[in-house]
């Protein structure tokens, strides 16, 4: 260990490329990204300057020149999904990555284009435009055909990035464990190993019993997916900063997965406890509706708990930051004066949010394990 020279960290040995090739690929990818950002910026500027050549008369003119700072709008922009990933800048000088818009309409088929043509909601393109909530709607208000929006939005891209990071970590860990049989893990894996063992011993095996190892991949996936996405949501700049687990659609899918797993893996004692519980017959009228409701309600509450915790935390942090700009709009000096206080509060809230990020992932996984455990429990009498 002592004599070893400083090598590449293990989780990058996932890629069997040489280090020169890796650097080259990273450089090309970053150059592409940077060029794309500034190209979008230039396209938007040109289209703005030449009077919206691609737009028609139905553009929304909510872009007044009022300097009034709107904290509600800023918070909503940061917490909700969007078709472009805004990096920095305001108004005309905003720099953002325009993400692809992929729509399916029965009469036209699959339609793909870059969201730069929407110019942040000020222009229409090919008969579509963004309404003020950011959803893609028909430009012609009378058209009621359904638009199936399967675009790569900010949350989708953020999820892909988080999953990519997770794949590097976990696949790298699996290889490193195979290579270092019987030895202690090295480096970053020392951080991940206690988490995995914690979920295995104190969550899965404690709640499910001896059949826990069958459900361990699912429980670990849920835990690390939620945890990594929560953490990425707290980072303020590019790969982070998208509110993925605070998107109710994402948490709904996780809850549906839990619902399907619990009910498809349940044995007959689970259903017996719901439909023919061990109580006097006259209580069936009360107990059975409650139990049946509980089957649906438990995953629903899982979804709501995660969504509300993460979104509320982000809104609080953004609210504290907004204080600076609200005071700054009243008097320039006040903004500077309140900023140490605001930053202190934000740091405190961010630390709390770190705790919440881990805690919510843990609670989701623990409750899933408990529900699975109650579903596959053997009859004890």
């Amino acid at each position: 260990m002592m004599g070893q020279s400083k090598k590449m960290p293990d989780f990058i040995t996932l890629f069997t490329m040489s280090s020169v090739k890796k650097t080259f690929v990273t450089f090309v990818f970053s150059a592409f990204l940077i060029v794309k950002i500034f190209a979008n910026h230039a396209v938007s500027e040109v289209e703005m300057a030449s009077g919206h050549p691609e737009s028609t008369h139905e553009t929304s003119h909510s872009h007044d020149k009022t300097d009034k700072y709107d904290p509600g709008k800023m918070i909503m922009d940061h917490v909700t999904d969007a078709h472009d990933w805004h990096l920095w800048g305001e108004g005309h000088k905003a720099v953002s990555i325009s993400l692809p818009v992929i729509l399916y309409v029965k009469s036209k088929g699959l339609i793909c284009f870059s969201s730069v043509h929407f110019q942040h909601g000020h222009a229409a393109y090919e008969g579509f435009q963004l309404n003020d909530k950011g959803t893609v709607v028909w430009e012609d208000q009378k058209n009621t055909e359904a638009i199936y929006d399967i675009s790569i939005t900010k949350n989708v891209l953020a999820m892909m990035l988080a999953v990519f990071a997770l794949m590097i970590i976990t696949i790298g860990m699996a290889r490193s464990y195979k290579k270092r049989q019987g030895k202690a893990p090295k480096g970053f894996h020392n951080l991940v190993e206690p988490l995995v063992l914690f979920i295995r011993d104190d969550v899965a095996r404690a709640s499910i019993g001896h059949k826990a190892d069958k459900y361990l991949p699912m429980l670990l996936s849920i835990f690390f997916f939620i945890f990594v996405n929560n953490i990425f949501g707290l980072i303020p700049i590019f790969p982070g900063g998208a509110n993925v687990t605070g998107n109710i659609a994402v948490t709904m899918v996780l809850a549906v997965i839990v619902f399907l797993t619990v009910n498809l893996q349940a044995n007959k004692y689970y259903w017996k406890h719901i439909f023919l519980p061990d109580v006097p017959v006259w209580m069936y009228v009360i107990i059975i509706p409650i139990e049946v409701l509980g089957v649906v309600l438990k995953p629903f509450v899982l979804m709501l708990r995660l969504f509300a915790n993460i979104t509320a935390g982000h809104i609080i942090i953004l609210g504290f930051f907004s204080l600076i700009f609200i005071f700054g709009a009243m008097k320039p000096g006040l903004g500077f004066a309140v900023s140490p206080l605001s930053v202190a509060f934000t740091v405190f809230m961010s630390l709390l949010e770190l705790l919440v990020a881990f805690l919510q992932a843990f609670v989701f996984t623990l409750l899933t394990a408990i529900y699975i455990g109650s579903a596959i429990e053997e009859h004890h009498h």
């Binding site: 509300a308 915790n309 805690l359 609670v363």
Partner: protein, 88 residues
């Protein structure tokens, strides 16, 4: 009481939907009270039981966190309803 009347009057003068916003704000405050009471009780009984038996610290801490998260789940349900009133 007259202060409440003044506030309501000011709210309604601005827009008729102000009543619902005020209701949402009061609801959120009540939800926070509920959270404080619930988690305070959990924390209090956890402290007492740790004082009685210090070696069960780890078990009690884990269960306290779980119970607190479950109570918060109910509170966040109320918060989400208030947010829906405000934004829908």
């Amino acid at each position: 009481m007259s202060l409440m009347n003044t506030l309501l009057q000011a709210a309604v003068d601005n827009s008729a939907a102000a009543y619902s916003k005020m209701g949402a704000a009061i609801g959120a405050g009540l939800a926070a009270i509920g959270a404080g009471l619930g988690i305070g009780k959990i924390g209090g009984s956890a402290m007492e039981s740790i004082a009685r038996q210090p070696e069960s610290l780890g078990d009690i801490r884990a269960n306290m966190i779980v119970a607190a998260a479950l109570v918060e789940g109910a509170v966040f349900f109320a918060i989400v309803v208030c947010l829906l009133i405000l934004f829908l």
